[in-house]
Amino acid sequence: MSALSEGESEILFIDLSRGKAVKQPVKPEDTKLYLGGRGFNSKTLFEMLNGPIDPLSVENIIALGNGAFAGTALPMTSRLHISTISPLSGILGDGNAGGEFSAMMRYAGYDGIVILGRAERPSYVWIEDEEVEIRDASELWGMKSGELVDTLRDEHGDDVSVAGIGPAGEHLVRFATTMVDKYHAGARGSGAVWATKNLKAIAIRGTKGVEPADPETFYKLSREDLEYFKKSEFVRRIYSVIGTHYGMMSWYPGWKYFQSHLGPDDLPEGLRPRDFAEFEVGRTQCYSCPLACKDVYYLPKSGEYGTSSEFESIYALGSNNGITDTEAILRMEHLADEYGMDVITLGDTIAMARFLHEKGLISDKELDGVSLEWGDAEGQIELVKMTAYRRGFGNKLAEGYRNFAKLVGKEVLAYSYDVKGLNRGWYEVDFMNGIFTLAHATSTRGADHLRGRSWAYWENDVNMDPEAVKRMLEAGLPDYRKDPVGALIEAERACTLADSLGRCKGSINMWFQAVPLVWKYPVFKGTAMLLKAFTGMEFTEKDVVEATDRIYLTEMAINVRQGIRKKHYDVKFPPELAKTERFRRQVKRHWEMVDEYLERRGCDVETAYPKREALERLGIGKVADAIDGKDFPEWDGPPLWPLESYPGGE
C-alpha cells in the first residue's frame, strides 16, 4: 500500500547517462510543504538545476509528478504534471496531461519520476512496480503517438499506460508535447527535451493500489464531491454533451490572428458545437473523471479515429486561421496528437505567419511554395506535417511563436503577443478589470489561461452554480470587481493547488473542479479535510494556502535564474494601437497592478525577485540563498540553434 504519510511512496530518479535508476522515499514533510505533482516538480527543478541553461542541453531534466490524490476515488484526480525548462520559452515549462499514467504511477508506488542525462541510443523505460528497466527503442523511434502506444501495449500488456513523444519531439519542435496514452498532451516543449535525452517513452504498470490514512472519511468526502457533479444539470446537459466546445459559445475565439473575436452569434457554420457533434461517435475522459468532456470522433475522409477536439485546438487551428472546415480542423487536431505537438502554439504560429505575410513582412520567396492564404485548410494540413518534421518553411514554424517572429525579424516581435515567450492572444487592460492582462503577465510559465486567469472571475462557475459562488464570496474569496489583484492571487493559488493534487482544473475552467469541495467548504477548507484524511497529517486551510505560495515563489525563483526580470511582466498590444492615448493609459494601469501584485506576493517591486523575508516566512529561505544579490543574463527567449542543425532541419 502506498500512503503518503507512511513514507511508502518513492521518487524515482532515472539517470540515462549512467543507465541507472535510484529511488528515494517521499518524506512526509515534503508532502506538507509541497503537496505533490507540480509542487514536487518545481521543488525538484529548483534544487537540481543551476540555471541559466539551454533547455535543449543535456543538463535539463524532466520531472513527472502525479499529485497527492492520484489513483483515488476523488474524481478528476488523474492529471500527470510534467515540468522542465521549456525549449519554447526558455523558462519554467510545465503542464499536465490526463490519461491513466498518473494513477499507474501511484499504483506502482511512485509519486515522482525525474529523468536526467542522455542515453547513448534511443531508449524507453519499462516500469512494473519495483522493476525499472531501460530498454532499446530503436524500433520505436519515428513512431507516431498511436502506434507507439499500441506497440508498447502489445509488448507489455493492454493495461499499461504510456507517456512518450511523437515525431515532433524527435525533431526538436520547440512546442512538442509529452503525449500520454495517445491523446493527452502536456507541457509544450517538453517533447523535445525527451528527444535530447534519447528517450522515446515510459511504459508503466502498477498493481499496488493506494490506501488513505482514514479511508472512511476520505471516501465519504470523495463521494460527496462526485455526487455534486453527477446531479448538476449543467454537467448532464452541457458539459458531458459538448465538453469544451462550450468555449466556442462562451470564450470569444480569435478570428484571423486575433483581429477580431467571435461572439456566440457570430460563429460561422462549421465552428458551432453541433457541427463538431456530427463527427462524434462516443465520449470519453481521463481516469476517474465523471464528466466525459472529450469527444471521440471519426473522420470519414481519412478513416481515422481521434479524441478530444478541444476549444483551444478549434480556435488556434481553425478560427484564428480563418478556417471553418470542421473535418479539416479535426484532422489537424488529430495530426497534432499523432506527431505530439501543442495545438495552441502550432495554430497561433501559423496564424501569425499568415498575418505577417498579408502585411508583406514575409515574402513569397521565403515560403517555398507554401500558401499562406487565410482559410486554406488543405494547405494547413500540409503545414502541420512540415512543421512536425521541420521540412521547408515548417522548420521556421517549428521554432514556435515568439522564436518564429524573432527569425522573421526584430521589428516583427511587436506582433508576437506573448509574455515570457508564451502566447495567449492580446486583451485590453480594461477588460475584466485588468485580470486577463495581469494573469498573463504573472503566470510562472508565460502567458496562458490556466495559471489563474479563468478562476479570477469565476465566469463558468456562475453558469453551473451561482449560489455556490455566492457562498465562496461570503467566505472571503476576493471579488475581481473590487480587488482584481487579490482575486488573481487567490485564483493562482487554486490552480497551483489543483496541479499539485493531480486534480483537473476543468476543461471548462472552474473553481468547482480545481478545488475539491469548494462549493461546500469554501475556499480551501474541503481540500484541507481531504489532505488530512488522506495523509493522516494535520492540514489547515492556512497550510494549504502556504503550500501553494511556497510553490509559486519557488517557480518565480527558477525563472529569475533563467533571466526573468520585472520588465518581463509586460503587456502587449498590436503596435498600431499601442501608440494611442487609450492604450498608453492602459499600459500605465497594468504596471500599477503588477507593482501591487509583486508587493502582495512578497516580491521586490523593482526587480520582481521573491524577497528573502517572504521565502523565510514560508520556511524556504534556501531559495533566497540561490538568487539573492545575484544577477543572471537577461532573458530573451531560449537560445535558438542554426536551423540546419536540428534533426531533419532543412
Binding site: 463538431f276 462516443g282 475522459q285 466525459a292 456562475v462
Partner: protein
C-alpha cells in the same frame, strides 16, 4: 428478482466503479481488486465491462469442489471464505472472466454489495443499473431503441449527437438568460 445490468453505450470508461468497488470490499483503491473490470479498447476509446452476471445456472457454483459458492437472498453468488480452498477453479470455469484473484491467490467476485451495489451508485452516466428484472429489461430496451431510432449503430451521418449538441447550445443560452441581473 433484482439483477445488475450494464448499458455499454453509456459507459465512457472512467473506472470510478472499479475504485468504488475495491474500496467497498477492502478499504483500498486498486482496480485489480475490483469485482467489476472495465477494459478500454484503445483504438476508439470505448469500453467493455466485465462483471458477474449472477447466472441462474452458475458454472462457478457447480465446479466449486467444496461448495463454497452459494446464492444469497440478494441474488448474488457469494464465496464463503471459511470453506474456500483457493483453487480458483470457479474463475477458470466462469464463461465471462468475471472472477478475479486477489494477491493471496484467492478468487474474488461480485456480491452485489448485499443488495446495494456501490458501482451502481457511483456510475456518472447510468451505465450500470440495478433493480427488479422487469425494470432493468425495460431500461435496456429503451437504451437500445433510442440508439436504433437515432442511428447510432452504423450510418455515417447521425442526427442524434447533433441534436443533443444543439439542445446543449440552447440550454446554455437559457442559463445566460437566467443569470441576467444576477446579484453576486
Amino acid at each position: 428478482m433484482f439483477v445488475l445490468g450494464v448499458i455499454y453505450e453509456n459507459c465512457t470508461g472512467c473506472h470510478l466503479c472499479e475504485l468504488a468497488c475495491s474500496y467497498k470490499h477492502g478499504g483500498t483503491f486498486n482496480p485489480l481488486l475490483s469485482r467489476i473490470t472495465i477494459l478500454t479498447k484503445p483504438e476508439v476509446q470505448t469500453s467493455v465491462q466485465v462483471y458477474c452476471l449472477q447466472c441462474n445456472d452458475a458454472a462457478c457454483e457447480r465446479v466449486c469442489p467444496v461448495d463454497a459458492i452459494k446464492r444469497d437472498k440478494s441474488g448474488a453468488y457469494v464465496i464463503d471464505y471459511s470453506r474456500c480452498i483457493g483453487c480458483r477453479e470457479c474463475a477458470y470455469a466462469c464463461p465471462f472472466g468475471a472472477i478475479s484473484f486477489d494477491f493471496k491467490a484467492r478468487p474474488i467476485k461480485c456480491d452485489l454489495c448485499g443488495g446495494e451495489p456501490e458501482c451502481v451508485d457511483v456510475c456518472p452516466h447510468d451505465a450500470i443499473i440495478f433493480g427488479p428484472e422487469e425494470k432493468v429489461s425495460r431500461e435496456l430496451k429503451r437504451a437500445k431503441a433510442t440508439g436504433v431510432a437515432y442511428g447510432i449503430y452504423g450510418g455515417a451521418e447521425s442526427p442524434y449527437r447533433r441534436k443533443k449538441a444543439e439542445e446543449a447550445e440552447n440550454f446554455l443560452r437559457e442559463i445566460w438568460k437566467r443569470n441576467e441581473g444576477l446579484e453576486l
